[in-house]
């Protein structure tokens, strides 16, 4: 048996054989909470995910990309009992993790879209760099929120102000900024109360406009400034505007007269009785990892009690994002097998399952089709271009444009990504099944392509099939699949050469197993 086959055999064993001991334990507050929850619901939790499944899941969730076959091999042959915990620790400290997670967070800050006007309104390069540094240095989340809500001044010197500048459009009152801030930092959807008392919640229209007063003086004058007087010629907003209301936070607190409004807003946001700011972050992080909300909505009951418990833990641990992520991804519930029925998943008796988000998808797409050079050339072209606006000459910004492209493939335009999972549009399906350029990138005869590299690195049909499987769905082919596909490529080799391998890659790239994080 040659060495490659030995590795394949080893992989198959470690992937589908007996499980390692779970590295999680009763010390993890999430595990402690779920052990009671499952008993109360009479649910039986699924078995732990295999190393292969776990490794794919955690790489997509923390690095936003697929693991490479070499990484998978190294991880699966590692026999250390606490290798999952060590892996998570290593990943959480990596630049790659900070870059990916900060981009996901930035995407929420910009409300998942950048129009050409938005690029004029805010300086996205400094904001993206700033958010990344916060994640990289694990700056306490309360400090990040404070900067976003209370910084004022130069968009270059205080990059956090670009968050507000992005949402300060031509509207007479900055409703968008208030709505976004309530959603991001308090986990509250206050939109209905702009025009009338909230039909489900307990918020009145008066309270909405009291909250608005914290944002009303903000102006986008290139930099973020405060001005008491309304803009010249400002018309009354047509949607429910109330004027002359005193600034009042959502829980009724009023700012001291000598306190700057931004500071007061940050103080209130970070100190609500229900720990709303922490709970909102935990809910967002949970949604990112499990594809489901942790907090209840008016139409859906969720695990608010767990969220409250985690909020206490999060604040006790110094508002550390890194520790929060560690707690979740090392928990038993995160590391479970995701196979199961919808009803199992509703009780968290099956592990997480969700489609890749646009940022993951774009990164995976770039890797699979080896587009790094193409993108680099594109940056250079934009940099040298005389007609491209200054803001686009920053590679930080160009990347955001790529993410926008991916989003529109995954989710029909006009659908709110906060409320709808983007699992792929018919247009995306057509593109992946049939687009000429994409088809040319799955060319087995083109050296630099992923398939081209596999073809020159591996010579036997079994090895090639397994390597294609490892690269795309990050597991070796099952016995049945291996037999079927090896038979397929060998039978056709006589007159089709390497082309049948393209068919195998095509199948995997168009599969749900590829697109979903499971």
């Amino acid at each position: 048996m040659n060495r490659a086959l030995a590795i394949v055999a080893l992989l198959a064993l470690s992937g589908f054989g007996p499980q390692e001991k779970t590295p999680t334990g009763p010390g993890n507050p999430i595990d402690a909470w779920f052990s009671g929850y499952w008993v109360s619901k009479g649910a039986t939790p699924a078995r732990p995910a295999t190393d292969l499944v776990f490794y794919r899941r955690v790489t997509l969730d923390l690095y936003g990309r697929l693991p490479t076959p070499d990484e998978i091999r190294a991880f699966t042959v590692d026999k250390a009992p606490d290798k999952r915990g060590k892996l998570v620790d290593r990943m959480l400290l990596a630049d790659e993790c900070a870059e990916f997670l900060s981009d996901v967070w930035l995407d929420a800050l910009i409300d998942h879209q950048m129009t050409s006007q938005d690029f004029g309104r805010a300086d996205m390069g400094p904001l993206r760099r700033w958010v990344r540094t916060q994640f990289h240095e694990d700056v306490p989340y309360d400090r990040i929120v404070r900067a976003l809500l209370s910084d004022r001044g130069s968009r270059r010197e205080f990059p956090a102000v670009n968050y507000a500048l992005k949402h300060l459009g031509g509207d007479p009152v900055p409703v968008k900024l208030a709505v976004m801030s309530a959603r991001l930092f308090l986990g509250k959807d206050i939109r209905c109360a702009q025009c009338h008392d909230h039909p489900f919640g307990d918020m009145t229209q008066q309270e909405f406009w009291g909250f608005m007063e914290f944002f009303r003086p903000l102006r986008n004058a290139g930099d973020l400034i405060e001005r008491k007087m309304p803009p010249a010629g400002a018309k009354r907003d047509d949607l429910g505007e109330m004027r002359g209301v005193k600034p009042r936070f959502l829980d009724g607190r009023e700012p001291a007269p000598d306190k700057a409004l931004g500071e007061a807003l940050a103080d209130f946001t970070l100190t609500t009785a229900e720990k709303d700011c922490s709970r909102a972050l935990i809910d967002r992080t949970w949604r990112q990892l499990f594809g489901r909300r942790l907090l209840s909505t008016p139409i859906e009951k969720n695990l608010d009690e767990l969220a409250a418990r985690l909020a206490i833990e999060f604040e006790r641990e110094g508002w550390s994002l890194r520790k929060l992520l560690r707690m979740i991804v090392t928990s038993k519930v995160y590391q479970m097998e995701s196979k199961g029925k919808e009803a199992d998943r509703a009780l968290y008796a099956a592990g997480p399952l969700k489609p890749m988000g646009p940022i993951q998808f774009m990164r995976v797409f770039t890797d699979v089709f080896n587009l790094h050079d193409v993108h680099r050339e594109m940056y250079q072209r934009i940099e040298a271009s005389e007609i491209a606006g200054e803001q686009f000459k920053d590679p930080e910004v160009v990347k955001l444009l790529f993410y926008g492209w991916a989003r529109e493939l995954l989710l029909p335009k006009g659908r709110d990504p906060e409320e709808n999972p983007g699992f792929g549009t018919p247009r995306m399906a057509m593109k992946f099944m049939n687009n000429q350029r994409i088809q040319s990138m799955i060319n087995a005869y083109w050296g630099p392509s992923m398939l081209g590299r596999i073809m020159s690195k591996k010579t036997k049909a079994t090895e090639r099939i397994d390597e294609i499987f490892l690269s795309i769905v990050n597991r070796p082919a099952s016995r049945g699949e291996r037999e079927e596909y090896v038979d397929y490529v060998e039978k056709r080799a006589g007159w089709e050469g390497k082309k049948p391998y393209e068919d195998v890659l095509w199948v995997l790239l168009n599969s749900s197993e590829f697109l979903f994080i499971h």
Partner: protein
């Protein structure tokens, strides 16, 4: 249908069906009911030629030659008596007998992004809700004509709105590379359809295992999206995307340019059962060097647009195909220091077919084009006119939650056009 509309009980039954959901209502024949409410219905499909960046009305549909704002261009006679248009639209001038103009469309929004949204949805961009694209509403209200082509298609660029709060099936399918819009759908070189069919069979087999093990609505929905895509790719009708199948004479009529081919594709798609096609073109944002640029842009669009009108008419399709030529706003009559024109919120829209009376001019700007002298047409009236042509009731509530949203919020059709 007769039962439903003629007897009181039938009418009640229909009302219940309508409030029960648009799918049911469509089944009971909303267009016919709308016809009774709003007069004769002609339009069954729509082609929009969207001029990105806001074209200058002064140098196209509302010329003021010889005045201080008129610029260097002349106005030329057209086949519609009494209507003169800019000199760089000579082909269109010959087809003017089929078209009408609204010269006083107006709004309050001089910003590209939000105005493009407004002129695609009839709504101001809001913080809390995304409104549907005009094409999504036309397609969803009229229903699918065929199920193996998308109900609405946008060619050339990403549109500013999508399906909004309507079901995702009504989202316009976007083919955003004007140079090669059919790249996603036409058979790939060296990869015949048999290969696609074989790959598809292999995929179905591969998918079954994962989908069975992971029961999930999102996975099911994704597989349905793929099935829909496959249906289009393998349909006979997909040839509608292939303009090379058109006789040379017709291809020459539209001209051998990206925009020309896109207009021809629009006609082929409309003919094959796509309810709504939009072709997006330009950069009409001529703050500098307006006249040279408008001359080039007019030359780009003139022959294809004229060909589209002529071709539709020749095929007898013009009577039930509404054509619209529009942009997000207009440009200043005053010429700036860079020989350009800036943003201006009164402008012209050209429209024809689909029951629109040809050869009419609605509204008049003053001698210098500086103000509306007669009959302003606000954006909502323009949309009311478009929907009226299709017999779509504009006060119909498309959704109730999170709040009731009408097709448009107010506005009356321009009756003089019908």
């Amino acid at each position: 249908m007769t039962d439903c509309t003629c007897s009181r009980r039938g009418f009640l039954r229909l009302s219940v069906a309508m409030s029960a959901g648009s799918a049911l209502a469509a089944k009971f024949g909303i267009p016919l009911l709308a016809q009774e409410a709003t007069g004769p219905v002609k339009a069954k499909r729509c082609i929009v030629l969207w001029m990105m960046g806001a074209p200058s009305q002064m140098d196209t549909w509302d010329p003021k030659p010889g005045t201080e704002t008129g610029g260097p261009f002349e106005a030329i006679e057209t086949t519609a008596s009494g209507i003169k248009i800019g000199q760089h639209l000579p082909f269109t001038a010959k087809q003017m007998k089929h078209l009408s103009l609204i010269r006083t469309v107006n709004s309050h929004d001089p910003n590209h992004d939000t105005a493009q949204y407004l002129l695609h949805t009839a709504y101001r961009k809001a913080a809390d809700i995304e409104h549907p694209h005009l094409g999504s509403i036309v397609a969803s209200e009229l229903g699918m004509e065929v199920d193996d082509l998308p109900p609405a298609v946008v060619i050339g660029s990403a549109p500013p709105a999508g399906c909004g709060y309507l079901p995702a099936e009504w989202a316009p399918v976007v083919f955003d590379r004007l140079a090669d819009p059919a790249e996603d759908v036409l058979p790939v070189q060296n990869n015949p359809r048999e290969r696609l069919a074989r790959r598809w069979r292999m995929l179905q087999q591969f998918e079954a295992g994962f989908a069975e093990q992971h029961e999930d609505k999102r996975i099911q929905a994704r597989r349905q999206a793929c099935e829909k895509a496959y249906k289009v790719l393998t349909s006979e009708r997909v040839k509608a995307f292939d303009v090379r199948q058109e006789p040379l004479e017709v291809r020459n009529l539209y001209g051998n340019t990206d925009f020309g081919r896109a207009c021809l594709m629009a006609r082929r798609l409309a003919e094959s059962g796509v309810r709504f096609v939009e072709v997006m073109y330009g950069d009409w944002d001529t703050h500098a060097d307006n006249f040279e640029r408008v001359k080039t842009l007019c030359t780009d669009i003139d022959r294809p647009m004229a060909a589209l009108v002529e071709d539709l008419n020749r095929r007898g399709m013009l009577k039930d195909t509404l054509i619209l030529w529009m942009g997000e706003f207009g440009r200043t009559p005053k010429i700036n220091a860079a020989n350009g024109r800036d943003h201006w919120t009164t402008w012209s829209v050209a429209l024809g077919g689909g029951g629109i009376q040809p050869g009419r001019v609605i509204g008049r700007t003053d001698a210098l084009g500086m103000s509306i002298a007669e009959r302003g047409v606000p954006v909502n009236d323009l949309f009311a006119t478009i929907y009226h042509a299709f017999g779509i009731q504009t006060d119909k509530k498309l959704i109730q939650v999170p709040r009731p949203m009408k097709v448009i919020d107010g506005g009356s059709p321009v009756r003089e056009l019908f």
